[in-house]
C-alpha cells in the first residue's frame, strides 16, 4: 500500500470536530472515518491518508480526488517530466496520436531500464489540434508548470511558430520531431531544436533525385497550394535550372479539395513532359499517378516526403509503380535497430510507425542523453543538447548545430516496386 497526500475540501465545522476526534492528529486513516466523510466545504487542510479499496461511494470519490492530485503534484522530486504537444484531435489527429505512442514506447523502455539516473520519466499530453491558436493556449497553460523539463512536439510548423515565444519566456526547451518549415530555426529562439531535416534541404534533395537520378529532361511541378507546398516549389524552381534543366510547366492544386488532375495531365501530355515532381501529399500523388496512367501518360514520378505513405499505392494503383518519394523514416526498414523498433512499436500501437512515431521516439532518447550529460534543469538541458554529436537514433545519426538544426542528417529515398516501398539504393 502506498502513501498519498490528499487535499480535501472540508466544511470548517466538520474539520474542527474531526480534528478534535483524532486528537489534533492530521495524519489519519481515511478508512476509519467513512461515516462522517462529507465534501462540503471551503477549508483545505492538507492531510495524509492511507486507504484500502472498498466498494463504497465515499471511497470512490476519495480515490478520484486522490488520483487527480497524485497526477498533478505529488511526484515532483522522484520524477522527470516532459510534455508531448501535438494534434490529438481534429484533422491531423493520426499524426499526434503516433507522436504520443512514440514517446510512450521510449518512456516505457527507459523506465524499464531503470529510468533517468534512477528517476522515473513521466509525461503529460497536450492537444494543440494542429491549430496555432490552440497551440498558444497550450503554451500559456503549461509554461507555468515548473516540473516540465522539455517539450516533445509539436507536429505543425505553424504551431511551433505561434507558441515558441511563450515557451521561451520560461525557457522551456522544445524538441520538435517533425517541424520542417525552413525558417523555424532562424527565428532566434534559443530554446528550439528539431531532429528532422528541414524543407529547404529536403526540396534540394528531391530535385536532385528527379533530375540527376531519374534523368528528367522536361520536368513539370505539381505543388500543393499551401505554405508547405509553395515553399518547396520556390526552392525547386530556383534549383532545377542550376542542374541545367528548364521547368517546362508548373501547376498547383488546393489540398483537400482538388481531385481532378485530368486537365493538367492532358496539358502535360501535349507539352511532352517526361517527368513530374509532386510537391504535396500522398492523396495528390496517388490521384495524379492513377489518372495519368488511365489517360495513357507515363512520366517519371517523384514526390516530397508527404507522399511517403502506403496510401500512395492504394490510391495510385498501377500508376504509382516506380514513384520515387523521400521518407524521413522508412516504415519497412530492415536494418536491425530500425526493424526491432518497428516491431516494438507495432506491439504498442497496432500500427507501423510513420515519421511522427519514429521521430518522437528519438526525441525522448535524445532528451535522455542530454539529461545524463548534465541537463538537470532547463538552461543546462539546452546547453547539453547543443553538445550532442553523432546521436544514433532510429531515424538516423545526428547532432545539433547552433541553430538547433540537424545538418548532418540525410533523408532516405524510397521507390514503389510491386506496390511496396523499397529503398532505392538497395533496389
Amino acid at each position: 500500500m502506498s502513501k498519498y497526500y490528499i487535499k480535501v475540501d472540508l466544511d470548517k465545522n466538520w474539520r474542527d470536530a474531526f480534528l478534535k476526534k483524532t486528537n489534533n492528529n492530521r495524519t489519519f486513516y481515511l478508512l476509519r472515518c467513512t461515516k462522517e466523510f462529507q465534501f462540503l466545504g471551503e477549508v483545505m487542510p492538507l492531510m495524509k491518508g492511507e486507504w484500502i479499496m472498498k466498494k463504497s461511494y465515499v471511497y470512490s470519490i476519495v480515490i478520484i480526488i486522490a488520483l487527480f492530485f497524485c497526477v498533478s503534484s505529488s511526484y515532483a522530486s522522484e520524477t522527470v517530466k516532459f510534455l508531448v504537444v501535438g494534434p490529438m484531435t481534429g484533422d491531423s489527429a493520426a499524426q499526434g496520436i503516433q507522436l504520443r505512442q512514440g514517446a510512450e514506447l521510449a518512456v516505457q523502455e527507459i523506465n524499464a531500464a531503470g529510468g533517468l539516473n534512477g528517476k522515473k520519466l513521466v509525461f503529460e499530453v497536450a492537444d494543440d489540434t494542429g491549430n496555432p491558436n490552440q497551440a498558444t493556449i497550450v503554451a500559456q497553460k503549461f509554461s507555468l508548470d515548473k516540473d516540465i523539463l522539455f517539450i516533445c512536439g509539436p507536429v505543425n510548423s505553424s504551431c511551433a511558430i505561434a507558441s515558441l515565444p511563450i515557451w521561451e519566456k520560461t525557457n522551456v526547451p522544445m524538441i520538435s520531431p517533425c517541424n520542417t518549415a525552413a525558417n523555424l530555426t532562424r527565428l532566434g529562439h534559443k530554446n528550439y531544436f528539431r531532429i528532422i531535416v528541414n524543407d529547404d534541404i529536403m526540396s534540394r534533395q528531391i530535385v536532385e533525385v528527379a533530375i540527376k537520378t531519374l534523368g528528367m529532361k522536361k520536368p513539370a511541378l505539381v505543388w500543393e497550394n499551401s505554405d508547405y507546398g509553395k515553399g518547396m516549389r520556390d526552392i525547386a524552381v530556383s534549383e532545377i535550372p542550376k542542374l541545367g534543366v528548364k521547368v517546362v510547366a508548373e501547376d498547383s492544386y488546393v489540398p483537400g479539395t482538388d481531385r481532378d488532375y485530368s486537365a493538367i495531365i492532358t496539358k502535360y501530355k501535349g507539352l511532352g513532359i517526361d517527368g513530374v515532381l509532386i510537391l504535396g501529399d500522398y492523396t495528390a500523388g496517388g490521384l495524379f499517378a492513377k489518372q495519368a496512367y488511365n489517360l495513357g501518360f507515363h512520366p517519371k514520378l517523384a514526390g516530397s516526403a508527404s507522399c511517403a505513405h502506403p496510401k500512395l499505392m492504394e490510391i495510385g494503383g498501377q500508376g504509382a509503380e516506380n514513384f520515387y518519394v523521400q521518407a524521413p523514416f522508412d516504415p519497412f526498414d530492415t536494418r536491425p535497430k530500425q526493424a526491432a523498433f518497428i516491431e516494438r512499436f507495432q506491439k504498442l500501437a497496432k500500427d507501423r510507425p510513420g515519421e511522427w512515431g519514429a521521430h518522437a521516439y528519438d526525441v525522448v532518447y535524445v532528451a535522455k542523453t542530454a539529461y545524463e550529460k548534465g541537463g538537470k534543469d532547463r538552461a543546462s538541458f539546452i546547453n547539453a543538447l547543443h553538445k550532442i554529436n553523432n546521436f544514433e537514433g532510429v531515424t538516423g545519426t545526428f547532432g545539433f548545430d547552433q541553430f538547433g538544426d540537424v545538418p548532418a542528417k540525410t533523408v532516405t529515398v524510397l521507390v514503389v516496386k510491386d506496390g511496396k516501398f523499397v529503398n532505392y539504393e538497395k533496389k
Partner: protein, 290 residues
C-alpha cells in the same frame, strides 16, 4: 488536345450532374439552399464504403448507401427543416448548415479525415482513338446521368406523386387544399434527393477511386449548387447541362489558363453568368402569382 480536354470536362460534368440532380429536386421544389446535401450523401457513401470493405456484393453496398441517404434525409427533414419550414428562407438554410457540420463530424468521428481507396472493385479500361483516351467508366457515368434524368422527368410529369411535388413547389397551401399529402410528399422529395445524392457520390468516388470527408461540401454542395444556378433552378435538364458546362469550364480553364486561379476564374464566370441570365439557362416554368 482540345478534344481530350472536352472529354475530360464532360466526364467531370456528368459526375457533377449526378450530384446536382438530387440537389436540384430539393432546391427547385422547396427553395431551400440545402447546404447539408453534400454532407448527407457523404455519410451514405461512407456507409457503402464500410459495407463494401466487409466484402458484400457491390450492388448491395450501393443500395444500402442509397437507402441510408434516404433515411438520413427523411429524419433530417422531420426534425431540422419541417419545424422551420414557414419561418422564411434564411432559417432553414441555417438549419441546413448545422446539419452539414453534424454530418461532417459524424464522418470525422467514425472514419477520420483520411482518404481511402474506394473503387467498388471496378477496373475500367480505356478506349484510345487517335491519341484521344476515353475511359469506359466515363461512358457509364454519362449514360447513368442521362438515364436518371429521363426517369426523374418521367416521375415528375407522368405520375401522381410527381404532379403532387410540382403542386407543392407552386403553392403549399393550395396543394394541401387539393388533397396533396404535403408532409409525406416533401419527406419523399428529401429522401429521393438524399438517395440520388448517394448514388452520384458513389460514382464520384469510383471515378477518382477515393473517398474522404471532403467529398461532401466542396465537391458536392458547392458544385451542385453552381450547376443548378447555371442550368436553372428546378429544371432537371438544366441541372445536367449546368453541370456539364461547369465541368467543361473547369477542364478548359485548368488546361489553358491556370490551375492556381482555377476556382477564382470559375466563380468569376458564374458571377458574370448570373448578371446576364439570373434565372439560368432553363428556368422551371412556374406560373407566378400576381
Amino acid at each position: 488536345m482540345f478534344l481530350q480536354h472536352l472529354v475530360n470536362g464532360l466526364s467531370i460534368g456528368s459526375v457533377y450532374a449526378l450530384i446536382a440532380i438530387g440537389y436540384n429536386m430539393v432546391y427547385g421544389i422547396l427553395e431551400l439552399l440545402n447546404f447539408a446535401h453534400g454532407d448527407v450523401y457523404a455519410v451514405g457513401c461512407f456507409v457503402s464504403f464500410a459495407l463494401f470493405a466487409t466484402g458484400i456484393n457491390p450492388i448491395l453496398a450501393i443500395l444500402a448507401g442509397a437507402v441510408s441517404g434516404y433515411i438520413i434525409n427523411i429524419i433530417v427533414e422531420k426534425y431540422a427543416y419541417r419545424p422551420v419550414r414557414f419561418s422564411g428562407r434564411v432559417t432553414p438554410t441555417i438549419s441546413a448548415v448545422g446539419i452539414a457540420y453534424i454530418m461532417r463530424n459524424v464522418i470525422l468521428k467514425i472514419w477520420g479525415p483520411e482518404t481511402y481507396s474506394f473503387g467498388l472493385g471496378f477496373r475500367g479500361t480505356q478506349i484510345e482513338i487517335g491519341g484521344l483516351v476515353i475511359g469506359t467508366l466515363q461512358i457509364y457515368i454519362f449514360v447513368i446521368a442521362v438515364i436518371l434524368m429521363i426517369s426523374i422527368t418521367f416521375l415528375m410529369k407522368k405520375t401522381k406523386v410527381g404532379q403532387g411535388i410540382i403542386a407543392i413547389s407552386q403553392s403549399i397551401p393550395t396543394a394541401a387544399l387539393l388533397g396533396v399529402p404535403v408532409n409525406r410528399t416533401i419527406s419523399l422529395v428529401y429522401g429521393l434527393g438524399g438517395a440520388l445524392g448517394v448514388l452520384g457520390g458513389i460514382l464520384f468516388c469510383t471515378y477518382y477511386d477515393s473517398i474522404f470527408v471532403g467529398i461532401g461540401f466542396a465537391l458536392g454542395t458547392m458544385k451542385a449548387w453552381m450547376s443548378c444556378i447555371v442550368g436553372g433552378v428546378g429544371s432537371m435538364k438544366g441541372a445536367i447541362i449546368g453541370a456539364m458546362i461547369l465541368g467543361l469550364s473547369e477542364s478548359l480553364v485548368a488546361g489553358y489558363l491556370s490551375t492556381t486561379y482555377k476556382d477564382a476564374v470559375i466563380w468569376l464566370i458564374l458571377i458574370v453568368f448570373i448578371l446576364i441570365k439570373p434565372q439560368g439557362l432553363f428556368p422551371a416554368q412556374i406560373a407566378e402569382k400576381i
